[in-house]
């Protein structure tokens, strides 16, 4: 927390009673360590990401240790979470056998996205590190490689790309239009949409929360006394959106993982 304190203090100083509109600058705070180093520069979001990773690893480790044939409360809860990825995401899409094989990949994606999303509503952290492009892009790349690998494993290199780019059925002339479309949708739009969907959701969530909390701050302290009552409304909205952001954090993790398994399933089944 020590490193966050100056930034927090600076923020409090500038926002005393004023309305600070959220902006994209929020996601690119100044670096506080290794400044200028291409590899190790750290800023507020880097730190939030590291904290999320450490806490997630801790939870995963303790959860794995608590899992038993006859589980206790913690083990049961953690097993439900892994079981949700295994049964509700992978199992329904990939079937019982493949869902076991792809569970490590899908569970990694699910827990990573969830942990890095949820920091957006955690007090003091207050930002989701998935709102920077690097994390969603990396995860989308992993998903991208995973479904291509699944397709190649199932049909061979030639077999997979032939089935992906030249689906059987239409007359030969149609391929002039169809093949570019298929290429675009499968190999460009899939990773792009995975990245942007997650990133945009987290950015907009942060904007909403900052807007309502900042508005409350302004209405309560800075605004004329006739307006102070409205701060109750804006604070209520801020709380409601906090709850909504928790839901979105889980939902986006679910969607990202579900789409990854759907892409893998499509690559395996294509012929």
């Amino acid at each position: 927390m020590l490193v966050v304190a100056p930034a927090l203090a600076a923020r409090l100083a500038t926002s005393e009673g004023g309305f600070e509109a959220p902006s994209l600058d929020d996601f690119f705070p100044p670096a506080f360590a290794f400044n200028g180093s291409n590899f190790f520069e750290l800023n507020r979001l880097s730190l939030v990401r590291i904290i999320a990773t450490v806490l997630l690893v801790l939870v995963l480790w303790l959860g794995a240790r608590a899992m038993r044939v006859v589980p206790g409360r913690g083990g049961n809860l953690f097993e439900m979470a892994v079981g949700f990825v295994h049964n509700s995401i992978a199992g329904d899409v990939l079937g019982p056998k493949a869902s076991r094989r792809y569970l490590p990949l899908l569970a990694t994606i699910f827990f990573t996205v969830l942990a890095m999303n949820i920091t957006g509503v955690v007090p003091l952290l207050n930002i989701a590190s998935t709102s920077l492009v690097s994390m969603p892009l990396l995860l989308a790349l992993v998903a991208f490689i995973a479904f291509i690998a699944a397709g190649i494993k199932e049909h061979g290199v030639k077999g997979y790309f032939a089935s992906a780019l030249f689906p059987k059925g239409p007359p030969k002339l149609i391929y002039i239009i169809l093949t570019p479309i298929e290429f675009l949708s499968t190999f460009v739009l899939r990773p792009a949409t995975l990245t942007i969907r997650l990133m945009a959701n987290m950015i907009s969530g942060h904007f909403l929360l900052v807007a309502f909390f900042s508005m409350t701050n302004y209405l309560l302290i800075g605004a004329a006394w006739t307006l102070k009552g409205v701060s109750v409304l804006s604070f209520g909205a801020a709380l409601a959106f906090t709850a909504f952001e928790i839901f979105v954090a889980v939902l986006q993790a679910y969607i990202f993982t579900l789409l990854t398994s759907v892409y893998i399933s499509l690559a395996r089944e294509s012929h």
């Binding site: 690119f28 506080f32 999320a52 990773t53 490590p104 990694t108 990573t112 690097s134 994390m135």
Partner: protein
């Protein structure tokens, strides 16, 4: 230490800086390591173990059930056997009782016949003796009557009738006609 920073413009928003990529890869690698090496293997092991335990439990339950059914069948067979034994014993006892009763009845009836035969023989002997005595009596009586009739001057038929009547009266009153009237 803190230097100014700001959002990159345009497409720059979608091109991550190198340090961000490094950190993302590092974080993802750490998480993936824990999930792949620890969480998923533990989860699948626990799941399989539980499945095996449940299957084993179900099999054991089925075996126990079969054993119970077997034992129950055995008990039922034994019960049936016992019932059959009891029935046979009862039957034998009844037969024995019938035999004993029949024997006793036969013996009693033989005894009765014997007693009857003895009584009849006794009666026959008595009758015979009575007949002999009676015959001797009748002979002497008839002789006496004849003497009396002859003795009373056979001329008086009224007298003869009276004598006969008196004789008969004496006979019926059980008194042996004596020679009171005898001349």
């Amino acid at each position: 230490m803190i230097t100014a920073a700001g959002a990159p413009a345009g497409i720059g928003l979608f091109i991550p800086p190198l340090y961000d990529i490094v950190l993302s890869v590092a974080c993802l690698a750490v998480i993936a390591f824990v999930v792949v090496k620890k969480v998923v293997p533990t989860y699948l092991t626990v799941l399989d173990e539980r499945t095996a335990k449940i299957e084993g439990g179900l099999r054991k339950a089925a075996e126990a059930e079969a054993q119970i059914a077997e034992e129950r069948a055995l008990a039922a067979a034994q019960l049936e056997q016992a019932a059959a034994d009891a029935a046979r014993a009862k039957q034998e006892a009844r037969q024995d009782a019938e035999a004993i009763v029949a024997d006793a009845r036969r013996k009693a009836s033989a005894e009765a016949e014997r007693l009857l035969a003895a009584a009849q023989a006794q009666i026959a002997a008595d009758t015979k003796a009575a007949e002999v005595a009676l015959r001797a009596d009748i002979g002497s009586l008839a002789t006496e009557l004849a003497e009396r009739i002859v003795g009373e001057a056979l001329t008086d038929s009224a007298l003869a009738g009276r004598v006969v009547d008196r004789f008969l009266d004496e006979l019926s009153s059980g008194v042996a006609p004596t020679g009171g009237e005898r001349p």
